[in-house]
């Protein structure tokens, strides 16, 4: 019964050992993972707001010329939610968001009122935060199908176009 190990199996064993060793070695030489602490990118110098540009005449037309310090209002597309339509309007001076107003938030039912009160400020703060970090778009875990999260994303994207 004590037959010698068949050659092919011996080769397999050697190959597997070498492969395992290579794996260990290659694991040692892989670049280090960088470690840091979680920090939130937030507007710098909140207490010292950027100097306002000379107040130009408000333009009624949205312009894609972002470098000019022209005040313009960008209205987000209405998002149809199960609670009603959500829509925001962004006022920009040059590339800066000056303010965000709610064009439409549902408020005709008890639950809607509650959600509007939460969602309204949330929409405004997220868009304002993101612009301060000069971001075109935000990657995150899938936004819920809830219309509020959607309109929030809509406001963000439009604000940075």
């Amino acid at each position: 019964m004590d037959r010698p190990l068949p050659l092919p199996r011996a080769i397999t064993v050697v190959v597997v050992t070498v492969a395992a060793l290579a794996l260990v070695l290659s694991f040692r030489v892989v670049p280090h993972i960088q470690k840091g602490r979680l920090a939130a990118v937030r507007p710098a110098g909140r207490s010292a707001p950027a100097p306002a540009a000379p107040a130009p005449a408000p333009s009624k037309h949205a312009t894609t010329n972002a470098s000019a310090a022209v005040t313009r209002r960008v209205t987000g597309s209405p998002i149809d939610t199960q609670y009603g339509i959500v829509q925001v309007r962004v006022t920009m001076r040059g590339r800066r968001i000056v303010s965000i107003a709610n064009v439409a938030l549902p408020f005709d039912r008890g639950r809607s009122v509650e959600i509007s009160q939460i969602a309204g400020p949330l929409l405004r703060s997220e868009a304002l935060q993101a612009q301060s970090a000069r971001i075109d778009v935000v990657s995150g875990a899938t936004y819920t199908s809830n219309g509020y999260a959607q309109s929030l994303q809509s406001a963000l994207d439009r604000a940075h176009a």
Binding site: V30, P31, H32, I33, Q34, K35, G36, R37, L38, A39, A40, V41, R42, A62, T64, V74, G76, S77, I79, D80, L122, S125, E126, Q129, A130, A133, R134, I135, D136, V137, V138, S139, G140, A141, T142, Y143, T144, S145, G147, A149, Q150, S151, L152, Q153, S154, D157, R158, A161
Partner: protein, 247 residues
Amino acid sequence: MPDVREVMGTAVGVDVRWHGPDAAAATEAVFAWLHHVDATFSTYRAGSDVRRLERGDVALAECSPDVARVLRRCETLRAETGGWFDVRARGRLDPSALVKGWSVERGARLLDERGIRRYCINAGGDVRVGDGPAPGEAWRVGIRHPGDAAAVAAVVELRDGAVATSGAYERGAHVLDPHTRRAPSGVLSTTVVGPDLGTADAYSTAAFAMGREGITWLLGLPGFAGMAIHDDGTVVSTPGFDALRVS
């Protein structure tokens, strides 16, 4: 300004920086394609190919050829990730974790085919960009702060690439460890940057499901980079990610 619409159960923004006459038509084509994908792959619509296939009402051959294509890719990804990416992790057929990224990737190709190169598509937090928004510029992609919807945890500059993030802060814990069927612990979010959004999306799902080991796994994937945020506030990232990071 991106055109933002509701499709595939989320908000999709298509931002085309192209002032030719074809830009609007191209954007329409992208949305038409995504609606078609939703009708085919939706796990919510009883009449979708995926739901009918799952019920046994139709055979795979009777479905759109894209269904077989996607399921084959899912199977490859399951093998590539050692079972961590599993479209049956919840016990039923749900290829959504690949479909969103895959369909946006194909949508981006619709723009490329029209010669439109400057674009940014955001499908509910999964991002695919082409050339920068303007000559000499790159798209600045923020990675959402997991604990604060009003902030980002990092910013990367990207041209012609994809960013996908999986995490437990939206939709509850929708990624499960396919081995334990439980939500992974120790990690709040995992972000993957790569050349194609379908794969980046699947890899971010798999890496997130792996918990804290996910980032080490990502390190071994050529062409992909990543960042994970642990629940103790530690941020770990691969050198490829740090090379793109500007904030």
